[in-house]
């Protein structure tokens, strides 16, 4: 099983839950490849600008960031993780808000009831979504955004491999 320490070409295999890096990549690829019910892709909105944790500076708007928080409880001997995936889509100037909202509609459609059993098991359940209110100084008020949090249950290979 390959576990990339650095994201070099060919080191990351998807779909995979064999490592955290690959879980991120699987979700990212799932978003990029998803074709919505009205035949739209995220690439039409954000190109491939889907980053983990934070964006490079300077960045082209709009873009998306992903952040995963995973916890396992004592149930299922800790093998089942409850993961909260935070997705932020940000745009600038304010006129990009419809673009951002529409891009997040595609993310919503992709991740709602998401099920992937190709490596381990990842299922999506509930979510919350909020349009970020307008901030004032010291924040740039012309930046618009939507933040959504998706609840996932993951049986990641990185943990369950021990039961083999």
């Amino acid at each position: 099983m390959s576990k990339p320490r650095f994201a070099t070409q060919g080191s990351i295999q998807t779909p995979s839950t064999a490592s955290t890096v690959q879980i991120y990549s699987t979700i990212r690829k799932g978003l990029i490849d998803y074709v919505s019910s009205d035949n739209q892709r995220l690439a039409q909105f954000v190109n491939d600008r889907i980053y983990v944790r934070s964006q490079p500076e300077p960045v082209l708007f709009p873009y998306i960031t992903l952040l995963l928080n995973r916890t396992s409880l004592s149930a299922y001997n800790g093998y089942r993780e409850t993961a909260l995936l935070e997705v932020q889509c940000l745009g600038k100037p304010e006129s990009q808000l419809p673009l951002v909202e529409t891009a997040m509609d595609i993310v919503d459609q992709c991740l709602t009831a998401y099920t992937d059993a190709r490596s381990g098991l990842t299922v999506g359940r509930s979510r919350t979504r909020n349009t970020i209110p307008m901030f004032s100084d010291p924040a740039d008020a012309s930046v618009v955004g939507v933040i959504a949090t998706y609840e996932f249950f993951i049986w990641p290979r990185v943990l369950t491999v021990r039961t083999n």
Binding site: Q55, Q88, F135, P138, D140, I147
Partner: protein, 146 residues
Amino acid sequence: MFRVATTLTDNSALTLRRYDDAARAGVVVSSQHLLNELRKAYQDYYTTGDFRSTLQIRQALRRSNPERGVDGWYALVGVPTKNVTPKGQKKSVDRGLVALGWELGHNNLFLGKRVRVQIVAPAAAEAAEGMRKAWARTVKRMMEAP
């Protein structure tokens, strides 16, 4: 008809009533625990001394009285939406919005980059165990009362 009878009652009505009061008190105590932990967490600057609004947010932190929701009692802990005008300043500030801006991240005009300082999320995660214990302790005491 019984003669020389002894009555046995399960007292469920009393127990349920008492549990309802105990659960409400449990929510008060555990939300107060979270409030105390949040007050401790908002003690430093956000990034540098240029961003000292953590002190103002600490003063504005409140908890609500418990209300009955679909799943039981709940209370809110955070900064109520309120515009205040700090002493010596003309512009009013919504401190809750300032806290939210740092918690979710914002493009900072002075630093020229996107910054994010999460205070509530890690403090709440840290406080979760203490909140559970505080709730259980309160409910146990009230249920065991004679």
